[in-house]
């Protein structure tokens, strides 16, 4: 069983080649309370903070292929720019996107890679929900989206 050019059924991750007429470059999006104010909001015990937009730049499409968030005790739920949730409910960050030895924000550690990734249109938004299942107030930690920007070399439009 195999698939065509841009699709791989198994890891290793990121073994993808650019499609014709495009150039892909590594790109990271990093969000914390300095650029997304809501990520500095304290979330009370049992409370949720929903639909926090994480804006993407408008110059190129983003192939979202990895994710990283610091350990915080919160549960997290992501939504792609098309409104698709990536889990049925908020799930513990420690099991979902907290990379090894990364107990203090986003220091060290690779991202958690995803299979084929998600094509995000230029200028789109990724959304994040937080839920606090603990008995005390918690503040979200930084979030990193990792992947590639896809630049068009010439028409027709790449997708």
């Amino acid at each position: 069983l195999t698939a065509t050019r841009t699709h791989s059924l198994y890891r290793p991750q990121f073994p993808y080649s650019s499609i014709p007429d495009c150039r892909e470059e590594q790109f990271h999006y990093f969000y914390d309370s300095t650029n997304v104010a809501a990520l500095g909001t304290s979330i009370a015990a049992g409370a949720s903070l929903l639909n926090i937009p994480l804006p993407l730049q408008p110059d190129a499409a983003f192939l979202w292929r990895g994710f990283k968030a610091g350990s915080s005790g919160l549960s997290i739920r992501l939504k792609d720019p098309y409104g698709n949730y990536l889990s049925p409910c908020p799930v513990p960050i420690e099991l979902y996107g907290d990379t090894p030895n990364d107990s203090s924000g986003n220091s060290g550690g690779f991202c958690v890679p995803w299979g084929q990734g998600i094509y995000c249109p230029p200028g789109g938004n990724v959304f994040v929900d937080f839920y606090n299942p603990t008995s005390g107030a918690l503040t979200p930690t930084a979030i990193t989206l990792q992947g590639m920007k896809r630049f068009m070399l010439r028409e027709p439009v790449c997708k």
Partner: protein, 325 residues
């Protein structure tokens, strides 16, 4: 992202993920291996299908003490002096002598990090493997469980042959083991008592897309759950393991405290290799059509720990939704 299946001759057999646990309850020789003791234990594989050994792991139960803040696992050197070698089905051993397992693998294959066996070793249905064990330490090794992980081989059509549609799109996705509800907002195993055996639990897909299970993560950051085992089944109750498999072996949880001392100094490195970056893998991946279901059993046996409490236990099955196009 999109993909398209292209034609290629399929292999002779369909591989199916399978784990064998070699437990002291069935192999009483593993209950206690005395200091200096050598022994050979034969292990017989199931008779329904051949097996290819692809990786292995081992563990002993947690020893837990109750501290002010709750249960805390005690570091152990029990496995540090375990030496082992194993044979193929013709009793040809794969090492000339027993090998110290500490030097073979990280965390003895726990936290979803089994030691690969490559190339895989083929065992015919019903064949027997010889396992040589040697404790070269000064303390007994008690309640040892060995895990032999790999794939069973089935003729095409004997088991479910669900697979990708000819053309499809995928979405990275993580299912929770239970369907989230208002009372269970994170979809964990709700109110799991310290001592429990839950059988025939249902894991059901949503009705919008097929799902392919590629990995899993499970556990509570505080490490409040210790002896917890899972056995998964297809919808016809055919299992993915011969017995329930410990969550540390199946899934990994980077926040679980490492209990294995590595040099006798009392130090134990955190299991930084495990976690969602390197989750416990299902190989080959398990493909389920939309609305399909699997069954699973859960066994938690922390009843002997006086401070163990009822918890909501999270378990994520991660992979991709598959949308036909």
């Amino acid at each position: 992202m999109t993909g398209q299946v292209t034609g290629r001759p399929r292999p002779q057999f369909r591989e199916r993920h399978f784990d064998y646990a070699m437990r002291p309850s069935e192999y009483p020789q593993l209950l206690s291996i005395a200091a200096g003791q050598r022994l050979t234990v034969p292990f017989t594989f199931d008779t329904d299908a051949p097996f290819i050994l692809r990786s292995r792991a081992m563990r002993v139960p947690y020893a837990v003490e109750c501290m002010v803040n709750g249960p805390d696992p005690i570091r152990t050197m029990d496995l540090q002096h375990l030496r082992l070698r194993f044979s193929d089905a013709t009793t040809e051993f794969k090492a000339q002598d027993t090998i110290r397992q500490l030097s073979q693998m990280a965390y003895f294959g726990n936290w979803g990090l089994p030691l690969p066996v490559y190339p895989g070793i083929f065992f015919p249905a019903g064949s027997t493997m010889q396992v040589d064990l040697y404790n070269d330490g000064t303390e007994p090794i008690t309640n040892l469980t060995l895990y032999w992980r790999g794939v069973k081989l089935f003729p095409w059509g004997q088991r479910f042959d669900f697979t990708y549609p000819p053309k499809f799109a995928t979405l990275p996705y993580s299912y929770t083991i239970a369907t989230p509800t208002q009372a269970n907002p994170t979809g964990g195993l709700l109110n799991l008592p310290a001592s429990a055996t839950l059988t025939n639990q249902v894991f059901q897909l949503q009705d919008d897309a097929d799902f392919v299970i590629r990995s899993g993560q499970a556990g509570i950051p505080s490490g409040a759950v210790f002896e917890i085992f899972f056995q998964f089944y297809d919808s016809d109750k055919y299992p993915y393991s011969n017995y329930p498999i410990h969550a540390d072996v199946l899934f990994g949880n980077q926040t679980q405290e490492n209990i294995f001392e590595y040099d006798g100094s009392g130090e134990a490195a955190a299991p930084y290799l495990g976690g969602p970056l390197n989750p416990g893998l299902f190989y080959p991946e398990i493909y389920l059509p939309k609305s399909h279901l699997m069954y699973y059993d859960v066994v938690r046996s922390d009843g002997s720990i006086s401070c163990a409490s009822t918890v909501t236990y999270p378990l994520l099955l991660t992979g991709a939704k598959v949308f036909p196009q």
